[in-house]
């Protein structure tokens, strides 16, 4: 009798501990289920197939950026230049593509492949500058990438000079705005980036280092891990992902111009954090980011399907973000108190 009671209590204790440990991942998932159910009931058009396609398309660009950011945030760093670098890559491929005669931005059209390569090279380079300033000069990544945000915007401004370019290389055109059967190519690309990143983070040595550096940088240093190299790598991965998202985005929207992706910075950070990746590094992953993306995507899309004052929508989004952040910090405290006990 006594023994059963004790066992029960122990089981209850264990369940509570698992819940505590998993709070960061359970809460976003519960939010997602709740939002889908809510909008599904509130609006019949929300759960239609066409709308599902919409949601996927809407979150794809954010998704690719958020994947790169996941690497950075897992390392307990931040990248505020994702949207700016996306913009640079998008503008660069347009810059090296023959434009309509009314658009006067470049005189050196290259074949599509070269333009795409230059787009990637530009993002790699900017990511490299972020990395060098952070690890070699020792600036906090928050500051480095804030400067890069301005630099990126400046590069775009210089390249397009207030104009809007419409033509992009055909390959990017297809990947950004075409679809195979019912599935938009851009969603396939996002899924591919997510899958590769997930495999890298979970199953490679590099991925392990990312988690360890984020979990306890000093311990990683004292274990002889090349921390500098890991931080460099995540900042470059983030920049390259952003560049890819930017190129697809330009094709998706059908135009390349200044400030095109400005809204995407906060959305991609929000997706990572809402999903439950720790802002302090070391825990989380691509799975979490996907949930975060879906929460934001469903929220953005669903709010359009119900009749709410469009000004209130912004407020609702803000409140949900705040709630997610509070859960993130709270989960971190629980984890820490659990670790010392």
């Amino acid at each position: 009798m006594d023994a059963t009671a004790r066992t029960e209590r122990r089981t209850a204790g264990r369940t509570r501990r698992i819940l505590k440990d998993r709070l960061r991942t359970i809460a976003p998932f519960a939010t997602l289920v709740f939002l889908v159910a809510f909008f599904g009931i509130a609006s019949p058009s929300f759960l239609s197939f066409a709308n599902l396609q919409n949601v996927l398309q809407q979150i794809s660009i954010t998704g690719i950026m958020a994947v790169g950011l996941t690497f950075v945030i897992l390392c307990a760093e931040i990248d505020l230049s994702v949207a700016a670098i996306a913009n640079v890559a998008g503008v660069v491929i347009a810059f090296f593509t023959v434009q309509d005669s009314s658009v006067n931005i470049a005189n050196i059209p290259l074949s599509g492949g070269w333009a795409i390569l230059l787009g990637f090279a530009a993002s790699f380079l900017l990511g490299g500058v972020n990395a060098a300033a952070t690890t070699m000069i020792g600036l906090p990544s928050f500051i480095t990438t804030l400067a890069m945000l301005e630099i990126g915007a400046g590069i775009c401004a210089v390249l397009v000079r207030g104009q809007i370019a419409y033509a992009v290389p055909p390959l990017i055109q297809t990947l950004g705005s075409g679809s195979i059967g019912p599935v938009p190519w851009i969603a396939v690309m996002a899924a591919l980036v997510m899958l590769i990143s997930h495999l890298v983070l979970r199953y490679t040595r590099f991925g392990r280092y990312v988690y360890m550096v984020g979990g306890n940088r000093e311990a990683a240093e004292y274990s002889g891990v090349n921390v500098r190299w890991i931080v460099n790598s995540v900042l470059i991965i983030s920049a390259v992902c952003s560049g890819f998202a930017g190129m697809l985005g330009v094709a998706h929207f059908g135009s390349a111009q200044q400030n095109e992706f400005d809204n995407y910075l906060l959305d991609s950070i929000a997706a990572v954090v809402v999903g439950g990746t720790s802002l302090f590094g070391g825990s989380g992953g691509i799975g979490e980011t996907i949930i975060g993306l879906l929460v934001l995507g469903v929220l953005n899309n669903g709010l359009d399907h119900v009749s709410i004052d469009s000004f209130v929508k912004i407020l609702i989004r803000g409140l949900i973000l705040l709630a997610a952040l509070i859960i993130n910090i709270y989960a971190q405290r629980l984890r820490e108190s659990g670790a010392t006990a």
Binding site: T204, N216, A219, A220
Partner: protein, 501 residues
């Protein structure tokens, strides 16, 4: 001796204090006279700090009585003690390096104008006057952090004096100072004594204590063991009282004597020549043979912990050369040091382990590049971790358990375990047994001996004489950043180590 002293300013009677059932002070009496510099010595954990914290109002709950100028007092907080004229200068300065000297002197008590804003001109003026009256040569407008440490310490002292302290407690004030800086501090202390202030001077540096103090009190195991006027005592007397050789405790000190094995006839694993790092250590040279345990002993702040970090590439030395197994190496980062064959376990567990991760990931982190080319092979990691768990007797014997759930001693074993799968040439251990219970300590000693016998050169760095005595084949002593003495193939006791440091 105490009878002939003039007016007692501060008297403590029968002070006892325990923490969670462990007695830190037992029935301690202590008397501080007016205009006296009173030295306080004792080993780590002897009770000096606890007593000072009681005087400074940090610990409010204790048994016993405290009299200030004949009146019973009890301080509920550090603020109460400060208001009563008791000030403390801690080993870690409590100043703000980003602010100016004047702002630091007035920290928390800035003079205000009638509009309630800070009266800057007055503050600078008064700070300048205060510093001048103390003979401290510092520009009140200078940013504190840019000044040498010795000067910063004098400024902290000025701040304590400015807040009206009659009794000043100095905790290890000389450990980070150069000889001229110490001389400057001492001349200031003597002037304060002339002006009737009383000073309690706590230090491990016995020469310094004997030089400045009028009388010295010795603590051991929470008891006041002895008190004597300085002209009548010497360093040997202090050491004897600190570690308890007299009073029939000879047996105890006999146990503390150790026969060092000395240098083995093996190849040199690590050769260090002229290693220097500003503010930490200078001109360090030694040789470590494979298959020996070299102990490096010194008081807190003697530079030996920094030396360890520097050898592992964490803070590369500015000058000097390193040779590993005869090959010259430049260790500019920890990853290079690891690949060159060095291994390091730092003194703080927080900075060597991943508390959130399972044991096996903590064990494999230092050898991931040897067990995996690109993709992880967790099964192999677990096998390796289980082998180490068995070798080292880690409890509970699970590779999956989260590291944070292990006891301190077992965490320490995991920190060792991560370096023992691929054997390094040189293993550097900083405070390897600190804060461990006896059983875990013995386990760690056994592991280190085994590693040595397998031919690894081991360096054990510690601020506790027992640690180096129980582990080392040869002992080097560091003092204020320099190597001062070597003990090899001889009998050595704690007293000799303390005397050399």
């Amino acid at each position: 001796m105490e009878g002939e002293q003039p007016k007692p300013l501060l008297e403590l009677r029968g002070i006892s204090k325990s923490f969670g059932g462990v007695a830190a002070l037992r029935e301690v009496d202590f008397t501080l006279s007016e205009g006296e510099i009173h030295g306080l010595v004792g080993e780590n954990g002897a009770g000096k700090s606890t007593l000072m914290k009681i005087i400074a109002g940090v610990h409010a709950a204790y048994q016993g009585r405290m009299l200030l100028a004949g009146q019973p007092v009890s301080f509920a907080s550090a603020r109460d003690a400060r208001d009563a004229g008791i000030g403390m200068v801690h080993q870690e300065l409590s100043l703000v390096p980003q602010l100016t000297v004047a702002e630091n002197v007035f920290l928390g008590a800035q003079p205000l104008t009638r509009f309630g804003t800070v009266d800057w001109p007055r503050m600078r003026r008064e700070a300048a006057r205060e510093l001048e009256s103390l003979g401290i040569d510092a520009d009140p407008a200078a940013i504190l952090g840019t000044l040498p440490l010795g000067l910063q310490q004098l400024i902290e002292l000025a701040r304590v004096l400015f807040s009206g302290a009659r009794i000043i407690i100095l905790d290890e004030p000389t450990s980070a100072l150069s000889p001229p800086e110490i001389e400057r501090l001492f001349s200031l202390l003597r002037r304060l004594r002339e002006s009737g202030r009383s000073i309690i001077f706590i230090s491990h540096f016995l020469d310094d204590v004997l030089q400045i103090s009028d009388s010295v009190t010795v603590f051991r195991n929470g008891r006041r063991i002895a008190h004597a006027a300085v002209p009548t005592i010497d360093k040997a007397w202090l050491i004897e009282n600190m570690i308890g050789r007299d009073h029939g405790e000879l047996a105890d000190s006999y146990v503390n004597r150790v026969e060092l094995r000395g240098r083995p006839e093996t190849d040199v694993a690590l050769e260090v020549e002229g290693l220097s790092l500003t503010g930490a250590f200078s001109d360090i040279s030694f040789r470590l043979h494979s298959g020996e345990v070299l102990g490096i002993y010194g008081f807190m702040g003697s530079g030996q912990l920094e030396l360890a970090k520097s050898l592992f590439g964490r803070r590369p030395a500015e000058r000097g050369t390193l040779r590993l197994a005869g090959r010259p190496v430049r260790l500019s980062s920890t990853s290079r040091a690891r690949r060159a064959g060095l291994a390091f376990v730092p003194e703080s567990r927080r900075s060597m382990l991943f508390a959130q991760e399972p044991v096996y990931k903590n064990v494999s982190i230092a050898i991931l590049d040897h067990i995996h080319r690109f993709m992880l092979r967790p099964a192999r990691e677990r096998t390796i971790a289980r082998a180490r768990i068995g070798d080292l007797g880690i409890r509970p014997p699970s590779a999956e358990i989260r590291l944070g759930a292990l006891s301190g001693g077992n965490q320490q074993k995991v920190a060792l375990a991560k370096w023992l799968t691929r054997q390094p040439l040189v293993l550097i251990l900083s405070e390897p047994t600190r804060g461990m219970d006896v059983g875990a300590k013995e386990d760690v000693v056994r592991i280190i001996r085994k590693v040595r016998d397998e031919g690894i050169g081991v360096i054990v760095i510690s601020t506790e004489p027992e640690t180096v005595l129980s582990l080392a084949d040869r002992i080097l002593v560091m003092k204020k950043g320099a190597m001062t003495r070597e003990f090899a193939a001889q009998s050595v006791g704690k007293d000799e180590l303390l005397a050399a440091a």
